[in-house]
Symmetry: C2
Subunit: 260 residues, 2 copies
Amino acid sequence: MLCSLSSSIRQTVNRKMSFKFLENNYTKGSTEPEKKPGVARIFSFQLCPYAERVLLVASAKSFNFDLVNVDLANKPEWLFEKNKFGLVPVLELEDGNLLHESLIIADYIDEATDADHKLHPQNLFEKYRQKLFVQEFATAYPQFIAKLKSGSDDIDVTKEVENFIRFFESELSQRNTRFVGSNESPQMVDYMIWPFVERLPAVISLGTQIKNWEQHLSENAPLILKYMQAMKEDPAVKQNLFSPDTHIDFLLSVRERFRK
Amino acid sequence: MLCSLSSSIRQTVNRKMSFKFLENNYTKGSTEPEKKPGVARIFSFQLCPYAERVLLVASAKSFNFDLVNVDLANKPEWLFEKNKFGLVPVLELEDGNLLHESLIIADYIDEATDADHKLHPQNLFEKYRQKLFVQEFATAYPQFIAKLKSGSDDIDVTKEVENFIRFFESELSQRNTRFVGSNESPQMVDYMIWPFVERLPAVISLGTQIKNWEQHLSENAPLILKYMQAMKEDPAVKQNLFSPDTHIDFLLSVRERFRK
């Protein structure tokens, strides 16, 4: 099992990995950028799925903010003043008040902005059912990154991925709507799970023995593929999207870093 | 360390443990009780802190429900139809719709009832700051039950308990309010953390080398003791309260069960 994985990884590891767009991130030793008066800030890292949740909601709600990207591998010292755990995302409000945790920031932004376009459903039971689904989705999603960070070549998660695909496909088939939350447009639940759906091709490519993720999904989980296509048409998703190849390259670079 | 613990445990283990009030709980093989039309139900277990969260909010909001207590050691088969994980609390709405997870049910009940008396603060930032505190509290609270369930005599959690007491005392001193959430009456944050504060005497008595929890708190954490006194005057808390001795006896019975 290890060998076939290693070979599939070797195919991709030879691709030149360059993340030019990460080079200007604030890093260790940097000075904290000056805060513009009257504007909130979001501290983020471009390839963090939790930060992406917040950026999706901020985009969808036209929330006005300054973006401060940090280097998570060499965190600036002042990041720990924003969140003692040194994690992103962090939301810094106009008055300097701070919130962290993606689900909390996402709900805050939704509640604080544009009352006519709430991302949670109006129906109260449906709202809380969707919050439960986000938790259930997080539990079912293959715990891939932790395995990758172990630095081992053996990051086979085939069984986990197959269970997850079955779980999510069945959920989509029961709901029978264009998005998880509704037919019209993505709702909070969609933005909370999307960053992980976006990474599913990378997880399939790197962590399983399946060679072609698109073919595998079209044969085994056509509703997931359809959902991905629908989500990619959403302006907020488009604005924050990276390709499967970028996710693959980034995850490989994470593994390399943890190997050192 | 193990010896002194064992001896302190022996002092309490000889007390006759009887939980008459648990004897009528629905158990394996039982028939699900009939649902009264138009009334919600809460599936609970009297000594589960997560279920207590929900009962506190239901009491504080005068939420109308039928209580169904189950035997968690011998779960009725029909409990898994209410929640596939067989956990409590579960809220079953009038129309049969189901919600689980204590924080989700608590927020649902608060939002669904008595708009003039919301348990979350009106100030949006404060609301989400309190949600963060509930998470932080849960992380800081000694992971006591898991250790107890290991069945070992060595359940020393002195260091964890001391760190937790420092953390919570410092939080109360910064807030400088009668309750965590406000001066007037307990808010959502208070009801979410209370079940664990209520069990703190039991955790101190069973899991540390400290002989007298009340004296220890009055010397080292007077604000926690004051907070406990204030909370015990609240009608919702009064209605759902068990004594430190009951918690001690119950936790010992949990350990005995896991030893078998």
